[in-house]
Symmetry: C2
Subunit: 219 residues, 2 copies
DNA sequence: CTCCGTTTGTTGAAAATTCAACATATTTTC
DNA sequence: GAAAATATGTTGAATTTTCAACAAACGGAG
């Protein structure tokens, strides 16, 4: 587990926990790691939510596919970030989403039951862990507010611009990369890919933005 | 504070905390209560997130209004439920939403800083409080998943049906009341009120459902 | 009971999205 | 480096939503 310390140190779940304690905790938490190639499923919709996931390298997408095959991307989780924690903590029977590797990714899984209920050892740190988990969940909720803020707009153009503004703000620059290709961006914004492409074209002609693949610049 | 014990006992935030302890805690948490008439603002968008709110009676709506005046309703919070906890826990500078009383409502406000950081007394219960808050946040995240599941549908009809299915499931019956009037339902589903009315009319003609005001029956 | 304000339903025209199909880039693979 | 596979852009027709305006139904207040 030692080789993962650099990433885990940046994981908000382990904030304030020293490396040697962290290593011992991972044992108690039933930590195991798995490798997933691009497009492979980490958790399938409908599965029991038993594990809290941490991305050690690569990234995963949280997706939902409806009855007619429309995919909706809820979020992208990068290295050092946590996923599926809400379902695990809320102890839901069936996950309403799938988690799919976005690229070759190493994933750490923690036994949720071990995270929620202290095992008798290391209790001081366990307390910190719970506190961190709470903060993480609060942050996640805000991520969803952001997504709803974007997708509640009524037109493709407004959704796109709202999204790009958020990304520019996050990047701290009007020039930035997004983690989506066109189809994925459409699935995140909940619009048609073709309409999205057309809108990006128009906005470029109008001089509002420039884009080449995943790189965007707001003008 | 005694008169609120019945509601607070049902509040997930205080699960597992005895009444006498609860009363003492409320002091430490800086609890105060306020009354809001229908349509009055509890928290305004842009305000600093200092308080965790609890609905003692009545209900509140979490809403967002965009640049062009389109209102989006994120959720409705009823008696015994908690709101604004995510912003308080994540310590955001500006609330991205407003909280508005849906009917005459009594609201309890807790100082967030007192909830997050133990004050020296009652630590055993404070720990339980943090744990409860974590569970609550996990549940909230799932509520947002539900909303995204609904609003990611592409047509008014699909959004409406997805919403009604969820409500029927929650009610455990195909006949149930919803907490929205037509305009509010439209703002929750992120669609036009007139289009929504038309769609409800069509679905009734088709024999898919019956509705009178806030009461719906799926056939 | 009647008046008045609010909510809900209805309509038609304008605007936007979806859908399917294809052209063109771009990337991957061998 | 060529072929195959994937991603992106483009188009027009059909569908759907939005918008504005008005009619009808409903609910209180007096």
């Amino acid at each position: 587990m030692k080789k993962y310390l650099a990433v885990l140190g940046k994981c908000p779940l382990f904030y304030g926990i020293k490396e040697d304690e962290l290593l011992r905790m991972l044992g108690c938490l039933g930590a195991k790691t798995e490798f997933f190639d691009k497009k492979y499923t980490v958790f399938a919709e409908g599965a029991r939510a038993k594990y809290i996931g941490i991305v050690l390298s690569g990234s995963v997408q949280i997706t939902q596919v409806d009855f007619y095959g429309n995919r909706s991307i809820l979020s992208v989780i990068g290295a050092g970030q946590v996923f599926a924690e809400a379902f695990a903590c809320a102890e839901v029977e069936e996950m309403p989403v799938s988690v799919v590797a976005n690229e070759p990714s190493e994933i750490m899984l923690l036994e949720c039951a071990h995270v929620l209920h202290t095992c008798g050892n290391h209790c001081a740190f366990h307390r910190q862990l719970i506190f961190n988990l709470m903060k993480d969940l609060a942050t996640k909720t805000i991520t969803f507010h952001k997504k709803i803020d974007i997708t509640s707009k009524r037109t493709t153009r407004e959704k796109l611009m709202a999204y790009l503004m958020h990304e520019a703000k996050r990047a701290g620059s009007n020039s930035f990369d997004i983690p989506f290709d066109r189809q994925e961006l459409a699935d995140y914004l909940e619009v048609e890919r073709s309409g999205l492409s057309a809108e990006i074209g128009k906005l470029q002609k109008e001089g509002v933005l420039e884009s080449r693949k995943k790189h965007f610049t707001l003008l």
